[in-house]
Symmetry: C2
Subunit: 363 residues, 2 copies
């Protein structure tokens, strides 16, 4: 029986643990907070509702002890906010063994780079593979102490290991349970195609007055208003220019919407109209707290590394930089300093060419 570890008992982690269990894996579920595990421990598993499957999914090991959680697992699915990746890497570092594959679901931008750097700093001899998914495979929610629901599963999900020569081995470890995963060229491709960095911080920031007020509004359908869509178009164009400068294939947000959800956007006048056509976005509520992860995760783990890579590549990103600055003013912090800047990623003083080599081949 295949042993798989899931790290993080939030919406995504609990859903993924249950899904893997129902597919015959022996699952270890880890969270650093015992509180998050209590209900599942008591029930011995998770009741899952999901497309074309569901039922009670036994979870063999439910633990806040990372050594126990990692033991004998070939596959480790990290399903935490990206701002926890560094800490998860520190916790895992002493216990990672040769052949283990760590998949970040998702990496946001430069998750695999931060994860590997942090493990190596804490355990220079660690032998393992780290890879990042471009996004979370599921639209899902933890609905109770031992319950979860998966609403939708994306059709395909690019995945890349760091370096890319290990991608095939990472894929092999997950493909049995998740045929949706496909190889991306490298982590630049998965990292630069960070749609959350486009769709999350800016609409949250430009609606922060009504979020402060706890107003009920639909995040996508109302929150991405025409004025805000116009800002998103500029921001997305900066991301696309960065990808071009890095020699990385990417899609515009409009192309991505069509690709992922299969809704034609070719004749949409822009992001506002294209979003209005996505039924999948209907009913998604806006956050009611200005300290939303749409800012606190997607700025430091999305916009900051995008902006920093752009600086390295000589691409100007005034809109991204402005959102980073104002988000920091709202949250009274310095997101560029706290986030995945070039220094934290160990990419300082590297050229675009050197970064390309770094993500491709083993140093």
């Amino acid at each position: 029986m295949n042993k798989v570890t899931v790290i993080g008992a939030g919406n995504g982690g609990v859903s993924m643990a249950a899904w893997l269990s129902l597919r015959g894996c022996s699952v270890s579920l880890y969270d650093k907070f015992d509180q998050a595990l209590k209900g599942i421990k008591r029930a011995g598993g998770i009741m899952l509702r999901a497309p074309s499957t569901g039922g009670f999914a036994p979870i063999d090991t439910v633990t806040s002890d990372i050594a126990v959680a990692l033991k004998e697992s070939e596959l480790i699915m990290v399903v935490t906010p990206a701002f926890a990746h560094g800490e998860v890497a520190r916790f895992c570092a002493p216990f990672l063994t040769k052949g283990q594959k760590v998949i970040l679901n998702p990496g946001r931008t430069a998750g695999a780079i931060e994860f590997r750097k942090t493990v190596k700093e804490n355990n220079p001899d660690a032998q393992f593979i780290v890879a990042e998914a471009q996004s979370l495979l599921f639209a899902c929610r933890r609905t109770g102490p031992a319950e979860a629901v998966i609403y939708k599963i994306k059709n395909h999900m690019p995945l890349a290991a760091l370096p890319a020569q290990s991608t095939a081995r990472a894929l092999k470890a997950v493909i049995g349970w998740f045929p949706q995963f496909v190889a991306a060229r490298d982590v630049l491709e998965t990292s630069l195609m960070n749609i959350g960095a486009v769709f999350h911080p800016t609409p949250s920031l430009l609606n922060i007055g009504r979020i402060d007020a706890g107003e009920d509004f639909e995040y996508y359908m109302q929150g991405i208003s025409p004025s805000i869509a116009s800002v998103l178009e500029k921001l997305d164009a900066e991301r696309v220019r960065l990808a071009r400068a890095m020699g990385t294939k990417t899609m515009t947000v409009l192309e991505w919407l069509e690709d992922v959800y299969g809704i034609e956007t070719g004749d949409a006048s822009g992001i506002y109209e294209a979003v209005q056509r996505q039924e999948v976005y209907r009913g998604i509520a806006a956050p009611k707290d200005p300290y939303t992860r749409y800012i606190s995760e997607d700025v430091p783990m999305g916009l900051v590394p995008l902006s920093e890579l752009a600086r390295l590549a000589g691409v100007s990103t005034p809109v991204m930089d402005s959102v980073i600055t104002l988000a920091g003013s709202v949250h009274r912090c310095d997101y560029r300093k706290e986030g995945r800047n070039l220094h934290r990623l160990g990419l300082e003083n590297m050229s675009v060419k050197e970064i390309r080599a770094f993500v491709t081949e083993k140093a």
Copy 2:
């Protein structure tokens, strides 16, 4: 009988024309749009309601011919949006005569500098005095084709001419009708104390989703939410640092609120709480159109010259710059290029010391 010209037949201009008429002036009212003048022309004047005065105010000359409007007036009160100052200067340039005093109500930031430069470019020999008020003296509204109401008159209003050695003469021309005017040290003092640049663009931008939606909300009481107040504090601190670098006396927004409205703010925890105490702000509705003057006037004529002067003075203004950038993305334009940048103001390549001399003494 003193002849006075009022330029601009909007809320402020119509109120001011009526006020001056009721104080015994012979008033010429100019607007470039005949449509704006029609009702007043037909009525022969303006019905004004105002604190401790009011009644029918005859307007002797109502014209869209600038030559006619300026003829024989010692005092010319410009009461237009700041983005019209350049055009007004071009229109006035051929007809300005020695001894005429032009007062911008208000100049926003660097209004007098732009006005004088534009007149000189169009009529190098023009002899006149230009001065700027720090803000509009009245809280007022044009309520009909020939009606206006003044709700409140500010207690005192700093005024400075360019150069400052002419301020006494400018003051002398207005003080008979408006004892509220007091001499500021120079136009840097009036220009850097631009509260509209603090209070207008940022809350409009960070509420742009609900403004797009045409939502009813109170601009100050709800629009300046805690998160937004936190951004305003950073932005105001940039303005205060700029003033210090220019050697100019200024007030923080909190000090200004106390000074102008007499409401104690010393123990307020910050801008959010201080604004909540200002009864004068209660009931002021937010704009319902994203192309609000709170952005289209206060960004290019307020934040842009503030940010540009800061660059010259070596003061960094990341929050101002971010608001300028995102406001431009919303309005699909480049406000720094269109606005009062150093080039447009003729201040390129000047040092702080040279600018101080320029605003103080005749070149």
